[in-house]
Symmetry: C2
Subunit: 231 residues, 2 copies
DNA sequence: CGATTGTCAATTGTCGACAATCAACAAGAG
DNA sequence: CTCTTGTTGATTGTCGACAATTGACAATCG
């Protein structure tokens, strides 16, 4: 998750396809492109002012992140999100985070706990200020930190695909009525369990933390897929 | 992995890029293309008698399966395999299979056990006939069956990337001196544990099964990366 | 009227040519 | 001699044009 360089006067020279990936990915996870929506190559290429070649390469890329679905000769659509998808997403997420947690605890590195605590403080502050969007961002940071700290690049890669779609789900179903302060509070016991190297407790907590969130979303998915209902 | 259709007189009409993916993937996991080897687009395109466009799309695809590494403006290489990579590969594999096993047992579907048993019988027969290659194939089938039976398409997708690279590792390091009959035998206790819905035993067994294999390979990796030593 | 077959427009797939980029090497200044 | 600064050749990135495929609809036949 620590991308790019820290040098401020370094100009990026990514190939077009990568910038296209970034743009489209953002459009999808932010809900601007809705699940099921067809992505017509000529249309999008024209919109972006580029040719179809780099766009197609970008679509290949996104299809492997699970964000779009490419059907030969038929076209590309933003991958539909069924209830089963969400259940699978959250259950796999749970497995991956549990694994990360176990490695984290095995490391027993105090720096990890410090960083997590800092993350928690930031989240709490944002929650108390009522900044829902910021809380969500920091929540993502928290879980990314968990994964990255586990020092497992293959896990990080795998996590990336999963978390992107989780983010998509959360955006489409942003329940504005939840108590964000409570959300922040929920993270503290996990950190404490890590600090005390209590693996059993930590894994139990994280599994509850994630499963409950997943179940909550999955339960209601088919009844009211999007917040505003527009396709 | 039950792909394609069962209709015998159905002719496939995959786009070129997909056939290219199949060819290159096979070349990589079979060890024909060695880790670190550069894949020069013009060269390969000419070799396959196609243009670069579908080849490039295929390379994008493979890069997400973790089989090649694309560096912008620098080119594509078969992804190098370090010892750390192998450790990560096997540790994640372990996590994924454990998860599959838990779901499998939760299902408690006798069909699964029947299929696994059949797989075991085939493996044993092949082992007794000394057909090492067939044993390896059936071993792969066994683990794929484990994953597929768990009814979790996201897990299957994730597994696919991991198992491909595992296969690559095993090909590059095919220890001809192991007792293949013993390899077959090792699978039986796992099946029995599943049949008896003993989750704890089953997970312990599969974790031993995989970790030991992984450690064995990782330990010696840097000292003698390939079987014949040629780059 | 129902089923089959032909046609067409929309879209994706593939290609060859040209532009942009990079690493390595050569040339020159200090 | 060493460091910097062109130059160059190989390779990847991008483009516009053309070919192939699909699904839907129209035409035809029984």
């Amino acid at each position: 998750m620590s991308n790019s360089t820290n040098n401020p006067l370094h100009i990026e020279n990514k190939p077009l396809r990568e910038r296209v990936v970034d743009v489209l990915r953002e459009a999808i996870v932010s809900g601007e492109f809705k699940p099921g929506q067809p992505l017509i190559e000529m249309e999008i290429a024209a919109q972006l002012g580029i040719s179809r070649a780099p766009l197609r390469e970008a679509l290949q890329f996104l299809s492997h992140e699970g964000l779009v679905e490419v059907t030969p000769y038929r076209g590309t659509v933003v991958k539909p999100l069924t209830r089963t998808d969400i259940e699978e997403l959250y259950s796999l997420r749970c497995v991956l985070e549990t694994f990360a947690l176990q490695r984290l605890i095995a490391q027993n590195n105090p720096d990890n706990v410090i960083k997590l605590r800092q993350c928690y403080e930031d989240m709490l502050t944002a929650a108390q200020e009522g900044d829902r969007k910021l809380v969500n961002n920091i929540d993502r940071q928290f879980h990314n930190l968990l994964i990255d700290s586990s020092q497992h690049s293959l896990l990080s890669t795998t996590w990336n695909s999963v978390s992107l779609r989780v983010r998509q789900v959360m955006t489409l179903r942003n329940r504005k009525n939840r108590d964000i302060t409570q959300i922040a509070y929920n993270h503290l016991p996990i950190i404490e369990a890590i600090a005390q190297c209590d693996e059993l407790l930590a894994t139990r907590l994280i599994q509850e933390h994630i499963s409950s969130a997943g179940d909550l979303i999955a339960e209601l998915w088919d009844t009211a897929p999007t917040e505003d209902g527009k396709a």
